[in-house]
Point group: C2
Chain length 552, copies 2
């Protein structure tokens, strides 16, 4: 068996290592265009920012080790130029000598990855307008920074864009972010990202949302970034992080099927439309495990697992890839934002019915010092309660809860299962009622109709005259410090004795700080026959939607 | 509906709050023997040690708030003396006035908790021989410490015992631990607890394992603790943490069924043998979700959920308790130890077949600074691969992985599912191949026979002459720094060229530092027809079993 693997980073390196473990006799040729294999691409921004001090640490496995330990035929600085599917060969160019030669294969694995988008806007190829994919990009950016960058513009506020911003700020560079969407971190729903926008502002980062770069020009002091609005931003470094596209040229030229967004089409065994050719990693289309359809989600974990699975199938072990659910996380100035499964906007786009609830618990018992608040948004199916997606933003412990919910999605669990989850509790690690249990209680209460809720977005989308009676059940002091416009304050502990102040027939939307007192108020009112709902997540959720001074 | 609830802490307070949310009209009487309801019993050791500075923080909800907000009839310092099941009344003693009176009920919920064991050994009732269950116990212990305790003896090295030790050390008290078992933290398997024992030693704590206190005597300097071995330990404070027993007297006197270990018997609806009487919390027998039989596991999370469920059933909402899986966690001098599901010894006691594997991954990517190593032990069913239990010890991130595995157990997932888990990865939070995936790979590899393994315990239990050929595939430097006695060193990268040095027919047990190189060695050797196995978790697991200098 001779296996040729195109691409030596996450998926390709995993496939090669797995192939060798399964067969000592196989001939395994690993072709990588760059000088490095198996490097830590997720670490690049942190080397730029100095958190990772040694460049060598990013070279997780060097070519020589793959040769010695795994007996792989590793060929770096080598580019696969074409596939001859009929003859089962690839044409390889040795970039050092510029010599081309032909290599045969029994099975071919494509792991070319995805390349950063560089849209054809004027000046995009000027020095200093950079993308970050590999160590060479990183070295170039670091070189610019070492030479003295005062101002940087980051175009695109996705995961990599935000990591770049954090690291630029760490270096003392004045950073500006330009993002086409009206929010940072577009994979998440907007209201979950407002704390990130606030954190950027608090760090002095200038944020241009709903805005795009239309051109780059040289200036005396470096570059000028011209925005669609006409604004001009001076910079000595522009970092583009506006997405990636599958490196599919080889596949397309060879006539392999690709999807509408360019991802190489594979079956569950990760075979392309040619059964002797497999494809893995950021270049492929995968099944969205929640929504069912094809999608493209570039993630390191799935790429690694796909590499294993392709090798398994080649060496006779039946193995299928289940799909990707899009679990992702980013750290930003001490905040963590993470998601798994479908976002609300993805559910809306695919016209899937859903419910959503918000909770704002501490990461551990409040009586133990150092508890940090988080916001969890849970999306679930209306009847079964099956969990469709979750997002979190906050301090410590967000990663843990998103991982728990990622498993819950994988296992097909429901909000009723979240109620019963038995998680590890000691006061420095969690709560007897963990944030996960709380989310389950709130979601299950909604489905059981014990706890009818209205979400802030639906509430505020109504014309003021058409809104429910807005009842703030917090204390008068809390109410005075900021409230939803038009709300009337009756503190929870006075509610039973002040029912006469409520309208007899109008729907009531009760709210408190995070939803707990609002829940109790809802229970009290409904049992008196009043049509009350709780505003999910209370005033804290409201402030996620309206982070500035409250508006009507 | 009139509901009387006996016990106002975790399960009782939860039941009362839930009952009120379900019914504004119900009469809900909450009877608590002590002066406090709903206090943070898991925080008591941390107030003693000073981490929690304000005593008031431990009073999570005060009686007055329950009265005002939940309209509960809260009666503290009141003891329920007897139940008249026929007349559906309880006899209550007001401890302040010593007056007794009778209260009727429609439904009764017993939530009396469990009391610390105080075995009848001489001197057990001397002042200074303390247990820690409530704020009064805590105040007494704190009073002793404030008056000047130089030496303390902690009897019992379970969860609470270890938390006491940590807090005593924090206060500068010289602490000695006496534990009947031959390990600390007996709910866990011994080899997972040796890092805790080492941490205790490093903090100057003297540890007496396989030892028990046989008597306490007054001395000029406080107390003398006399051990079974004859040793005598001076102390001004003895903290007993040797377990708890259900407070079942009321139930037993009323003729309710109790189990062999004293737990009040309940059905899935948490009804006792009297359908008008429910019982919840540490006083009851629960179903062991992994082993199936009845068990008693005192935990705050389950107690809270049981309170909800009992109230749900009383107010007409069908709700069942699924059982307890024993998820528990403790922090000790920066280490975390946690478990979920069945331990190996529990599986052995119940004669259930199982496999076990060990992994020793970092909590996040090694190239990002600050990664901390952990040890995970995974127990799973031989054929299905269903996860039966997990334990972890190490630094940051142990809590997250045990929570993920707790959900996996709840959902009935297998090691094959762990392979595919898509968890949140950025270099400061995890790894592209998360510790959970690694554990899955190793477990699934064992079941698929791609990765035959031998565990350290089985290996070392063999007579030296009967052991497999012990092959250390680490570097010669690593080998020289410490190895399994009798092992021969052939570094992995030389293995393919030195096969002639291996015995032709003898079984080979390969090992490395954590199991990864040993795995590759096993694959190489088996493909050459040599009967090789990998020592699960490698030398690191070995050192968990044999933490001292290696012995034969």
């Amino acid at each position: 068996m001779k296996v040729v693997i195109v691409g030596g980073v996450a998926g390709g390196a995993s496939a090669a290592a797995r192939a060798r473990r399964l067969s000592e006799d196989a001939e395994i040729v690993l072709i990588e265009r760059g000088p490095d294999v198996s490097f830590a691409n997720c670490g690049l921004p942190y080397y730029i920012g100095g958190t990772i001090a040694e460049r060598d640490k990013l070279l997780v496995v060097k070519p020589d080790l793959l040769r010695t330990r795994l007996n792989l035929d590793v060929r770096v600085r080598s580019s696969v130029e074409a596939i001859d599917r009929h003859g089962k060969t690839v044409r390889i160019r040795d970039l050092a000598s510029d010599r081309e030669y032909v290599e045969s294969y029994d099975k071919l694995i494509l792991a070319p990855g995805a390349s950063p988008l560089r849209p054809p806007i004027p000046g995009i190829d000027l020095p200093g307008v950079e993308t970050l994919r590999n160590l060479q990009d990183m070295d170039r950016i670091k070189g610019l920074l070492d030479a003295g960058v005062k101002q940087a513009v980051v175009v695109g506020a996705g995961f990599i864009g935000l990591e770049m911003v954090e690291n630029l700020v760490r270096l003392g560079v004045s950073a500006t972010v330009v993002e086409l969407q009206d929010q940072v971190l577009p994979p998440l729903d907007k209201e979950l990202t407002t704390p990130l926008a606030s954190a950027l502002a608090a760090q002095g980062v200038s944020l241009h949302l709903g805005e795009s770069a239309e051109g780059f020009e040289k200036s005396a002091d470096g570059l000028i970034v011209r925005l669609k609005s006409g604004a001009e931003l001076p910079a000595q470094l522009v970092a583009l992080g506006i997405g990636v596209r599958p490196e599919n040229k080889l596949a397309v030229d060879a006539g392999l099927d690709v999807g509408p967004r360019g991802g190489i089409r594979v079956n569950e065994e990760l075979q392309t439309s040619d059964p002797d050719i497999y494809a893995v990693g950021d270049a492929i289309e995968v099944k969205d495990v929640v929504l069912g359809g094809p999608t493209q989600i570039p993630l390191a974990g799935p790429a690694n697992r796909q590499g294993r699975i392709a090798a398994d199938n080649i060496f006779g072990r039946a193995s299928t890839y289940r799909g990707t659910q899009g679990t992702a996380i980013v750290g930003l100035f001490g905040l963590t934002a993470a998601m798994t499964g479908a976002s609300e906007k993805a559910l809306q786009r695919s016209e899937r019915p859903y419910h959503k609830v918000y909770v704002h618990p501490g990461n551990h018992a409040g009586y133990y010092p150092g508890a940090e608040q988080m916001t969890l948004k849970l999306l679930f199916a209306p009847e079964s309660g099956r969990i469709l997606g979750a997002q979190g933003v906050g301090g410590a412990g967000v990663d843990k809860r998103i991982d728990v919910l990622a498993v819950a999605i994988q296992a097909g669990l429901t909000v009723f299962d979240l109620e019963e989850m038995e998680l590890a509790y000691a006061p420095q690690f969690g709560s007897a009622k963990d944030p996960i249990n709380m989310a389950g209680f709130v979601g299950a209460g909604l489905l059981r109709d014990d706890h009818p809720q209205i979400d802030v977005a639906s509430l505020m989308a109504l014309p003021p005259a058409g809104r429910p009676f807005l009842l703030d059940v917090r204390t008068s002091k809390e109410h005075a410090a900021g409230n939803i416009p038009g709300s009337v304050n009756i503190p929870l502990d006075e509610l039973r004795s002040r029912l006469a102040e409520l309208p007899a027939a109008q729907e009531i939307a009760a709210y408190c700080k995070v939803g707990q007192r609002g829940y109790l108020a809802t229970r009290i009112l409904r049992q008196r026959g009043l049509p009350a709902k709780n505003v999910s997540g209370g005033y804290t959720t409201y402030r996620h939607y309206f982070p500035e001074a409250a508006v009507d």
